[in-house]
Subunit: 256 residues, 2 copies
DNA sequence: ATATCAATGTCGGAG
DNA sequence: CTCCGACGTTGATAT
């Protein structure tokens, strides 16, 4: 069946398959193929996938996905900007996708097509999402007292020799506080990260407090944290979708 | 059209859509819907996606994907093990997917279906892939001399207070060598990682060498590496697909 | 283009 | 089940 917005075929011949894929690529359509195929990849790694039925998706932006009947991740893929081509070789349909840098090539050897279609997609909306580390950061800058009474932020993304501190501030006694934020349960790696940031402040005369801020913490992480004399503050990332005007650090005096 | 392996419809009515999705879910088929829809998610985060045309995939293992016409990643999804349901509410098709722990819910409000199909998928093959850190490790254990003449591995995944060392060994003079492997271009974070592992060996009498093993290294990482007196050894991850019997460390004497 | 960091990361393996 | 680290991570942002 064919209309203005999409074209769809069942059990097409090789000739039809070739024609429709070619047409879909030329129109920069979203192409969907359900077929029995083999897949080969060579580039950053190398992979091979034997014969089986999979869903193939070629998007207008060059993204190329091959999905098996399990898992969220595609079994093979190419990123946006890749160039797809279709060929017939020895009476078999080959679909290839290449990327230049790094050089990568994905080849799908199609044995038999079950359904084939392409769509001229109308979709202008972007996802609006809340509940990230960034949202926690905003929340703390808006309401520093949720960390503790008297906490004052000084800097955000403060650079150290071991990376960027999420939030640097002072407690009510004037001691420096280094906050490391995680939007989900924090593990030992988060504690190690915090520990590294503190190395730059080892000689600070007023003393420095390291605080891991996350909704929860693993047992091992808690142990390491306490062994290192660091602190944990439980905080859930806020999940409000309305796009609020962001608070900048201009509101705070960067006085360190 | 309907046959034993798949069912496919174009521009179905709500009633047909409901029936086919229900049937596909019951048969644990892979369901593919191209439709104009809205999407809501609530769980580890919260998100909203306005009206637009997207590809919806429901897999037999419970994975649920919504793909826009761009990017490799789905715009919304649910992991394997989630439970999908279809409803009609106020004359509109709703498809929901829930997960228990953590509690997550994805809701798709379908405005209009363009194509709808489900497949009973036959696919037994797993991906065979080569070119990982693991393959480099195997290669080095098989042929230690590629690191340097006289290099002898002692332990793999050797535990320190700062995490696991990829390979620990000795050079021909008996000095300890700590190898940190990366299957791609190494950055400063890799150097910092190596640096941390060495802390446990600061007092070793024979001296310890830290070696970063990777196909290449970033400029900043090279500088930091040299400033710390560490070394770089260029090594490409092998990309051989044949499943070779793995070498275990039983072949080496753990004598440290 | 390169480097760095977060993610509803996902996934696999070990305890 | 939880915890931990790798990934052809991807995607976004700053340099």
């Amino acid at each position: 069946m064919t209309n203005r917005r999409f074209t769809s075929l069942e059990n097409p011949t090789n000739k039809e398959t070739y024609k429709i894929i070619k047409e879909g690529l030329r129109k920069r359509a979203m192409i969907i193929i359900f077929s029995c195929c083999r897949v080969h990849y060579y580039g950053r790694a190398k992979s091979r996938l034997g014969l089986g039925e999979r869903l193939i998706i070629i998007k207008p932006d060059g993204s190329f996905l091959i999905h098996q009947d399990r898992k969220v991740e595609p079994v093979n893929w190419q990123p946006p900007g890749s160039k797809a081509k279709v060929k017939i070789e020895d009476g078999k349909i080959l679909v290839e996708s290449r990327r230049r840098k790094p050089a990568e090539k994905l080849t799908v050897e199609i044995e038999r097509v079950h359904t084939l279609s392409y769509y001229l997609v109308r979709d202008i909306h972007e996802l609006e999402v809340a509940g990230h580390e960034e949202d926690m950061c905003q929340l703390i800058l808006e309401s520093p007292n949720i960390i503790e009474k008297g906490f004052r932020p000084i800097a955000r993304e403060y650079q150290t020799s071991n990376g960027f501190i999420d939030i640097l501030g002072k407690d009510e006694n004037g001691s420096l506080m280094v906050l490391e934020l995680k939007s989900r349960r924090a593990g030992v790696s988060a504690v190690r990260q915090l520990k590294r940031y503190l190395e730059d402040f080892k000689n600070d005369k007023h003393g420095v407090r390291g605080v891991l801020v996350a909704p929860s913490i693993t047992h091992d992480a808690k142990e390491l944290l306490e062994a290192e004399g660091l602190e944990f503050k439980s905080l859930e990332p806020p999940q409000e979708l309305k796009k609020d005007n962001k608070i900048t650090l201009d509101d705070f005096i960067s006085s360190r």
